[in-house]
């Protein structure tokens, strides 16, 4: 597992993560170090019969289909960076 700067840049794009050129260099080194470190897990002698754990044991917690009060809109919008017409506002989202 070797991550090139290109690959790291691509990962950052997937994660919508702005990184500077300086950060890119530092992160590429750091990422490769961790990847090298974790690579040994592929050789872990996991005993026979262990399949991939899948989010733990079933607990069957759930709720009944009952409507509860929602939060007041003023509270909900209070943290909005921008708002308009009772909605959260963003730059124009291009329809895709």
């Amino acid at each position: 597992m070797v991550l090139t700067e290109e690959k790291v840049r691509a990962l950052a794009a997937i994660a919508r993560l702005g990184i500077t050129e300086e950060e890119l260099t530092a992160l590429t080194i750091a990422l490769n170090r961790t990847c090298q470190y974790i690579a040994e897990i592929r050789e872990a002698p996991v005993p026979e019969g262990i399949t991939e754990a899948f989010g733990g044991e079933p607990t069957n917690t759930g709720r009944e289909d009952q409507v509860l009060p929602s939060w007041p809109r003023e509270a909900v919008l209070r943290n909005a960076p921008e708002q308009a017409n009772l909605c959260f506002q963003t730059p124009r989202i291009l329809e895709d």
Binding site: G18, L27, A44, A53, E82
Partner: protein
């Protein structure tokens, strides 16, 4: 009155006898924070007006003696990744510099209901990702025993608040050791409860299948009181354990006949010999108290750290996806269109958080998923089985909390192998979901050393009981009786 020397029980008595008022107590701590915190930086936010309001309300409750609990009027510091309604919750991130939650985390609601006074929001590594409390947008937290050393992390602020007597109690959160490691570094007690015993509702997620809120305090009994105040089934948390796991009423039970395991993998290469010595001294005290010691082996431990990194970072990359600048938090680059805005907003995250997001994104990508992520899930299952097998032979495990005492801010704290070393003993409890307690067990020069007790799910109280017995029977110098006051004196005010 030497309030920082008093434990919570003594404070309770003083409050109930009206020797002090909750407002006086709160004021005392607020003043102490004002005095010490500029140098230690344990707090991000101290909402003085709200604190005094809560204290006044507690005084009214005490006056009428209605609904007074163990925690009524007792100040509690809250790690700043736990949501507090109307009180800024930053997660030590620039991104949430102006984020005021619209609801209380369940633990906060419980504390408020009990009449506790929320003292302030404590510093942490950004989004709890780190083990130094250096990765905070609001400045690094210093270890009160040696300000050139780290407090540990990510609950460094909570550990320091308690250690330096700026709060009698604090809440931390623990994903891979974030309560226990700073507790060990700062000479206080810290419990990572059984997964599901304390509600996560309102805890800002880092890696939700690992995260757990827990108490930090200067003594076992104080820790127990806070734990009892926050534990319990919560219908708002899908992973909350049913109420059948009830908190025990006290810590007085005998520990005679308990089998204490010393797992080989926790005493091997990389461990500071002096720490090993202190922890074995704990074992000796426990043996004298009637415990049976046994050595055993946990082969799955060899892969604990890689499994933790893979799974926790994968979850972290997912948890962090919500910060897109649309609904809350800061917004940058709005002029660059929607994708540009999201990217620019997230650019303000710190390097450590970015590192984990990128790794997590990579681990979940098609390139890695089957070979690494799924393998890590298998290792996690293996570890659960491995530990369950160990617990069929012994009742609990005694290990060091960290491989070394608090390290220097310059140099060591940037060295990844050193950082990894501090996590290797703590991640197992998060991977298995079992409880783990760190408690002070001596010194290396002026630096505290922590020992860790682990047990099967639901044994949280048992761990406390055993550690309390150790503390009672330990040679005087082993336990940090050098209290917060002394710490305060070390600081040039």
């Amino acid at each position: 009155m030497e309030m920082t020397k008093m434990n919570v029980g003594a404070l309770r008595k003083a409050l109930d006898r009206r020797e002090i008022s909750a407002v006086e107590l709160a004021t005392y701590y607020l003043d102490r924070i004002a005095q010490l915190d500029p140098q230690l930086k344990a707090f991000i936010t101290v909402p003085r007006a709200e604190v005094l309001q809560m204290a006044a309300a507690a005084d009214r409750r005490i006056a009428t003696q209605e609904d007074v609990t163990a925690l009524t009027g007792i100040p509690v510091a809250i790690k700043d990744n736990i949501c507090t309604e109307g009180i800024r919750t930053t997660c030590a991130s620039r991104l949430l510099a102006d984020f005021y939650p619209i609801y209380d985390a369940t633990v906060v609601a419980k504390l408020k209901q009990a009449g506790a006074v929320l003292l302030g929001k404590t510093n942490l590594d950004e989004f709890a990702m780190g083990s130094t409390t250096k990765e905070s947008f609001y400045g690094l937290t210093r270890n009160p025993w040696d300000r050139q050393r780290v407090a540990g992390g990510s609950s460094g602020g909570s550990a320091v608040a308690v250690a330096a007597g700026m709060a009698p109690l604090a809440l931390g959160s623990d994903t891979g050791g974030s309560i226990r490691q700073p507790a060990a570094f700062c000479g206080v007690w810290g419990l990572k409860p059984t997964y599901g015993r304390v509600s996560r509702y309102g805890l800002v997620p880092y890696a939700p299948s690992f995260d757990q809120i827990g108490p930090m305090a200067r003594s076992g009994w104080d820790l127990f009181l806070l734990f009892r105040g926050i534990a319990g089934y919560d219908p708002l948390d899908p992973t909350s354990l049913p109420a059948s796991v009830e908190a025990e009423g006290d810590l007085s039970g005998s520990i005679r006949g308990l089998r204490v395991g010393l797992p080989r993998e926790f005493f091997g290469a990389g461990l500071d010999g002096r720490i090993k010595e202190r922890v074995l001294a704990v074992a000796k005290v426990l043996a004298e108290a009637g415990c049976e010691l046994m050595e055993l082996s946990l082969p799955s431990m060899a892969y604990a750290l890689p499994a933790y990194y893979l799974l926790a970072y994968a979850e972290a990359s997912s948890s962090m996806a919500r910060y897109d600048g649309v609904r809350y938090g800061i917004r940058e680059g709005a002029e660059q269109g929607i994708v540009g805005m999201m990217t620019a907003t997230r650019q303000s995250l710190g390097l450590e958080v970015k590192r984990r997001i990128l790794l997590g994104t990579y681990f979940l990508s098609a390139d890695c998923y089957e070979e690494c992520y799924q393998q890590a899930q298998k290792v996690r299952t293996w570890m659960k089985q491995d530990f369950a097998a160990a617990y069929s032979r012994c009742d609990l495990l005694l290990t060091p909390t960290t491989a070394a005492p608090a390290f220097r801010i310059e140099g060591e704290a940037e060295d990844e192998p050193v950082l990894a070393l501090t996590e290797q003993y703590t991640v197992a409890a998060n991977l298995t979901g079992n409880p783990a307690l760190s408690f002070p067990c001596g010194w290396i020069n002026h630096l505290p050393v922590g020992a860790q007790l682990m047990g099967p799910a639901g044994t949280d109280e048992l761990l406390l009981r055993v550690a309390a017995v150790y503390t009672e029977n330990a040679p005087g110098e082993a336990v940090p009786e050098r209290t917060a006051r002394d710490v305060g004196e070390q600081i040039e005010v």
